[in-house]
C-alpha cells in the first residue's frame, strides 16, 4: 500500500485516538454498571424492589429510641438503629464510628447491602450537615412515603 508517510501517521493517530476513546468509554460503562449506588427508600426495600447482591443507598429518618450500642467483649463496635420513611422501617447495623451529626429523629443516608435476614449492613453512614439542611434523598424518601416535609421544616 503506497501511502505517503504523513498520511500514514495521520491514520495511525486517528486509529490510536479512536481505540483509546473506545477503551475509555468501555471502561466507564463497565464500571458504571458495577460501581454506582442506587438509592432506595425503606418502603421500596420492604416491597422487595431493592437488589440483594448490590451495594445500595438507603435514606430516611433515624427512628426515635432505636439506637443501640451492642456491648461486645472483643472491642468491636456495633451500632444498631432503625431507619424509617414514616411508612416502613428497615433495621440497620453499622460497625464503625457514627458521624457527629447522627441523632435520633434526624435524617440519615446509609451505604451498604441487605443481608439474608433483611438487615441493612451499612459500610458508611452520612448524617445531615446542619439544622436547616435535610439531604434531598431523605426529603424524597419521606415524600414518596406520603409524608412531605415543608420547605421551612
Amino acid at each position: 500500500m503506497a501511502m505517503k508517510p504523513h498520511r500514514k501517521k495521520k491514520l495511525l493517530a486517528i486509529v490510536g485516538g479512536v481505540l483509546a476513546l473506545s477503551v475509555a468509554v468501555g471502561l466507564i460503562l463497565y464500571a458504571s454498571g458495577q460501581k454506582m449506588n442506587l438509592f432506595y427508600t425503606p418502603s421500596e426495600i420492604a416491597q422487595g424492589k431493592a437488589p440483594l447482591d448490590q451495594i445500595i443507598r438507603v435514606g430516611g429518618l433515624v427512628k426515635m429510641g432505636t439506637v443501640e450500642h451492642v456491648d461486645r467483649d472483643d472491642s468491636v463496635l456495633e451500632t444498631r438503629f432503625v431507619v424509617t420513611d414514616k411508612a416502613m422501617d428497615i433495621n440497620v447495623t453499622f460497625d464503625r464510628v457514627l458521624p457527629d451529626l447522627f441523632r435520633e429523629g434526624q435524617g440519615v443516608v446509609a451505604l451498604g447491602r441487605i443481608d439474608e435476614q433483611g438487615v441493612f449492613v451499612a459500610t458508611e453512614v452520612l448524617a445531615k450537615h446542619d439544622e436547616e439542611y435535610k439531604a434531598p434523598e431523605v426529603l424524597d424518601a419521606l415524600e414518596r412515603a406520603g409524608h412531605p416535609v415543608k420547605k421551612d421544616d
Partner: protein
C-alpha cells in the same frame, strides 16, 4: 455606616466593571484613544473599591456588628479575633466578595505587568476581565449581598462560625483556591483577546505561560491545603472523597495541567494553537462550572453554601454566556490562527499531545462522574457516584500518563532518533523495577497496585534525574544548576512532586490500617503494630467550646512513643459538636486517633477511630513540590524577554531546544 459604605463601594465597582467591559472594547474597534486608555484607571478603581468593600466587611466582623445579617450568622462575640478576621470568608456571601476581590487583584496585576503589550491587545484583555468581573459583581449584588442588614430586629449575639472552619489551614485554603480558580480567567482573557484580534503566535503563548502556571500553582496549593484540612479536621482520616465539590476544583486543575503543557508546545513550536486556545477557554469554563456546582445548591456537601435556586440559575446563565461566546468566537475566528506543523511520533510534540489527550480524558471521567447523578435524577433515578466508581476508572488514564511522563521530557522537539534513547530507558526501567520490588516486599503484603504505582514513581524520578544530569553534562559541579533554565528546573521538580504524591497515594491507600473500636479507660488495643492504652477521659473548657478529651498512650513493642489526646468538642454558640482528631505525624507513617461517641453515661467507654497511615504525608509533600516547581518555572527569564519581532519568535533558536537532550543531533538540524 461601614455596611452602607461597603454596599456603596460594590455598586460603584459594578458600574466600573460595566464601563471596563464596554468602553475599552468599543475603543479598540473605533480606535478611540480616550476609550482605550480608560482600561487601566478603571481596573485600578475596580480593585480599590472592592478592596474597600472587603475591608468594610472585615470591620463589621471585628466590631461584632450583628445588625449585618452575614456577620450575625457567621460570627459570635466569643469567637477569637483571628477567626473573626477569617470568618469573613466563612460563608457564601463573604467568600464571594473575597472571590471577586481576588479577580480584581489578578486584574490589577495584569494591568501592571502587561504594559509592554500592544495597546489594543492590552485594553481588550482588561476589558474581557472586566466583563467577567461584571458577571461576578452583579451576582453578588443581586443574589448574595454580604451587607444586608437584620434591622429592625438586631440579634444580641451571632450564631457563630462553623467550628470546622475555626482552623489555621482554613484561613489560607479558600484564598489560595480562589486565586487558582479566577487566575485561569487571565489565560481565558488572553485567549479571547487573541481570537478577537484573529492572531495568536508563539510570542503571545509565551506571555500567557507564566499567568497560567501561576494560577495552576495557586490551585495546586489550595487543593493540597483543603485535602490536608479534611484529613485532620473532619475526623474521618480521609484525604480525598471524590466529593462533587472536590471535583469542582479538580476538573479545572487537570484541564489547567493540560493547558500549561500545551502552552509550552505553542510557545516553542508555534503549533497546537487552536487546541491551546480551546484549552484556555475550557479550563476557565470548568472553573465557572465548579462555581456553579458549589454555589447553586445542586450538590450537598461540606462546601455547598446555599440551597438558593436563584443563585444557581444566575451562575448557569453566566456560564452559558461565557461558554456560548467562547464557542462562537472560536468557531468564527480560530480558523485563521491554526497552522500545520509536522512532527514525528517520537518527538516531544507528540508526547505532549498524548499528555493532553490523557489529561482531557481524565477531566472527562471526573466530569462524567460528577454530573451523572444529576442527569440520572432528571430521569427519575436516584443514584450516587462515589469513590468506588472513580477509583475504578481514574487511575487508568493517569497510569498511562505516568508511563509517558518518563519518556516525553527526554525527547527532542519535532524528531528524535528513538533507537538511541532505548538503552537509557531500559536502564531506568530496570532500576525502577528493582527498587519498586524491594519497596513493595518490604511493605509487607503484596499488592499489584503498589508494585505498579511504585514502579511508575521510580520511573518518573529516574527519568527526571537522567534529564538533570544529561542537560547539565557539560557543566562542572558548581555551575550545574545555572545551566538549567528555570522552566526545565521547575518541570523536573514538579514531575518529582508527581512521583512523591503517587508514592503517598498508593502506599497510604493500600497499606493503611483502619480500625473503629470500642475502648474503655485502662483498656489496651493493638492496631497496625502499635498498642493504644486509654489513660483517661476528662472534661476541659476552651475559649468558645467545652470538650471531652481522651488520652491514649501509644507504644510500639512496649516502648512508649507519644500520648495522643483527641477531643469531642461542643461549641457553645452554635450548639455544634465537633471531632478534633489527634495525630502523631511522621515521614513514613501517621498515627491517627479520633473519637466517636461516648458509649456509657460516665464517658469512660468510647467509640474510637484508630488509624495507622503509612506515607500519607507524601501526598501533600508532592503537591508542595509541584507548587514550588511551578513557581520556579513561572519565573523563567525567557517568559519576560521580548522576541525581536513577534512573528519570527518560533524560529529563534532557544537555549533549551539547542541543548539537544539526548545526544542526537538529528532533532533540530533536520
Amino acid at each position: 455606616m461601614h455596611a452602607e459604605l461597603g454596599q456603596y463601594l460594590i455598586i460603584l465597582a459594578f458600574f466600573m466593571c460595566m464601563s471596563l467591559a464596554i468602553f475599552p472594547m468599543i475603543g479598540s474597534f473605533t480606535k478611540n484613544a480616550v476609550l482605550i486608555h480608560s482600561a487601566r484607571p478603571l481596573t485600578y478603581l475596580i480593585f480599590t473599591s472592592l478592596l474597600g468593600a472587603f475591608l468594610c466587611l472585615e470591620y463589621s466582623f471585628l466590631i461584632d456588628d450583628f445588625s449585618v445579617s452575614y456577620v450575625a450568622s457567621h460570627s459570635n462575640s466569643l469567637l477569637p479575633t483571628i477567626y473573626k478576621i477569617t470568618a469573613v470568608w466563612g460563608g457564601h456571601e463573604g467568600s464571594f466578595l473575597l472571590w471577586v476581590l481576588t479577580l480584581a487583584g489578578w486584574m490589577l496585576f495584569v494591568a501592571l505587568r502587561t504594559q509592554h503589550f500592544p495597546l489594543i491587545r492590552y485594553c481588550r484583555i482588561l476589558s474581557v476581565l472586566g466583563f467577567i468581573c461584571l458577571g461576578f459583581v452583579s451576582f453578588m449584588l443581586f443574589t448574595s449581598n454580604p451587607f444586608e442588614r437584620t434591622l429592625p430586629f438586631v440579634p444580641i449575639d451571632g450564631s457563630d462560625l462553623n467550628p470546622l472552619l475555626q482552623d489555621l489551614a482554613m484561613i489560607i485554603h479558600p484564598p489560595m483556591l480562589y486565586m487558582g480558580y479566577v487566575g485561569f480567567a487571565v489565560a481565558f482573557a488572553f485567549a479571547i483577546a487573541a481570537l478577537i484580534e484573529g492572531k495568536w503566535d508563539a510570542a503571545w503563548a509565551r506571555r500567557t505561560r507564566p499567568w497560567a502556571i501561576a494560577a495552576w500553582v495557586c490551585l495546586t496549593i489550595g487543593m493540597m491545603l483543603g485535602s490536608w484540612w479534611a484529613y485532620y479536621e473532619l475526623g474521618w482520616g480521609g484525604w480525598w472523597f471524590w466529593d462533587p465539590s472536590e471535583n469542582a476544583s479538580f476538573m479545572p486543575w487537570i484541564a489547567g495541567t493540560a493547558l500549561i503543557h500545551s502552552l509550552a508546545v505553542t510557545d516553542k513550536r508555534d503549533s497546537f494553537k487552536g487546541w491551546t486556545l480551546a484549552l484556555s477557554l475550557v479550563t476557565f469554563s470548568l472553573c465557572l462550572f465548579g462555581t456553579f456546582l458549589i454555589r447553586s445548591g445542586v450538590i450537598t456537601s461540606v462546601h455547598a453554601f446555599s440551597n438558593d435556586p436563584e443563585r444557581g440559575v444566575f451562575i448557569l446563565m453566566f456560564l452559558l454566556v461565557i461558554v456560548g461566546a467562547s464557542i462562537l468566537l472560536f468557531i468564527t475566528r480560530a480558523g485563521g490562527i491554526t497552522k500545520k506543523v509536522n512532527f514525528d511520533f517520537y518527538s516531544k510534540d507528540m508526547f505532549l499531545l498524548l499528555n493532553n489527550i490523557l489529561l482531557i480524558s481524565a477531566t472527562f471521567v471526573v466530569f462524567f462522574g460528577t454530573i451523572y447523578p444529576m442527569i440520572a435524577e432528571a430521569f427519575g433515578r436516584k443514584l450516587s457516584v462515589g469513590a468506588p466508581w472513580f477509583n475504578a476508572i481514574f487511575p487508568w488514564p493517569m497510569f498511562m500518563l505516568f508511563v509517558l511522563l518518563g519518556i516525553g521530557p527526554l525527547l527532542n522537539w519535532k524528531r528524535h532518533d528513538f533507537s538511541k534513547l532505548i538503552p537509557v530507558l531500559v536502564k531506568i526501567a530496570i532500576v525502577a523495577l528493582v527498587l519498586s520490588l524491594i519497596a513493595t516486599f518490604s511493605l509487607g503484603e503484596f499488592y499489584l497496585w503498589v508494585l505498579s504505582g511504585l514502579f511508575l514513581s521510580f520511573w518518573i524520578a529516574g527519568s527526571s534525574m537522567f534529564f538533570l544530569s544529561h542537560t547539565t553534562r557539560h557543566a562542572n559541579w558548581q555551575s550545574k544548576l545555572s545551566k538549567l533554565s528555570n522552566a526545565n528546573l521547575g518541570m523536573v521538580i514538579a514531575h518529582l512532586g508527581v512521583a512523591v504524591t503517587l508514592i503517598g497515594i498508593i502506599i497510604s491507600s493500600l497499606h493503611s490500617v483502619e480500625k473503629d473500636l470500642r475502648v474503655g479507660v485502662g483498656q489496651t488495643v493493638e492496631v497496625g503494630g502499635y498498642e493504644f492504652r486509654m489513660l483517661k477521659s476528662e472534661y476541659i473548657k476552651g475559649q468558645n467550646y467545652e470538650a471531652s478529651r481522651v488520652s491514649f498512650m501509644v507504644s510500639e513493642n512496649g516502648d512508649e512513643i507519644t500520648v495522643l489526646a483527641p477531643e469531642k468538642r461542643y461549641y457553645l454558640a452554635g450548639k455544634q459538636i465537633m471531632t478534633e482528631a489527634s495525630i502523631d505525624p511522621g515521614l513514613t507513617r501517621d498515627i491517627y486517633v479520633s473519637l466517636g461517641e461516648a458509649l456509657d453515661d460516665k464517658q469512660q467507654v468510647w467509640a474510637v477511630r484508630i488509624y495507622v497511615k503509612p506515607f500519607i504525608r507524601w501526598i501533600w509533600m508532592g503537591a508542595i513540590f509541584m507548587g514550588i516547581g511551578g513557581i520556579i518555572a513561572a519565573l523563567d527569564r525567557r517568559f519576560r524577554q521580548l522576541p525581536k519581532t513577534a512573528h519570527d519568535s518560533h524560529k529563534t533558536p532557544d537555549k533549551e531546544t539547542t541543548q539537544d537532550p539526548i545526544g542526537t543531533t538529528v532533532g533540530e538540524s533536520a
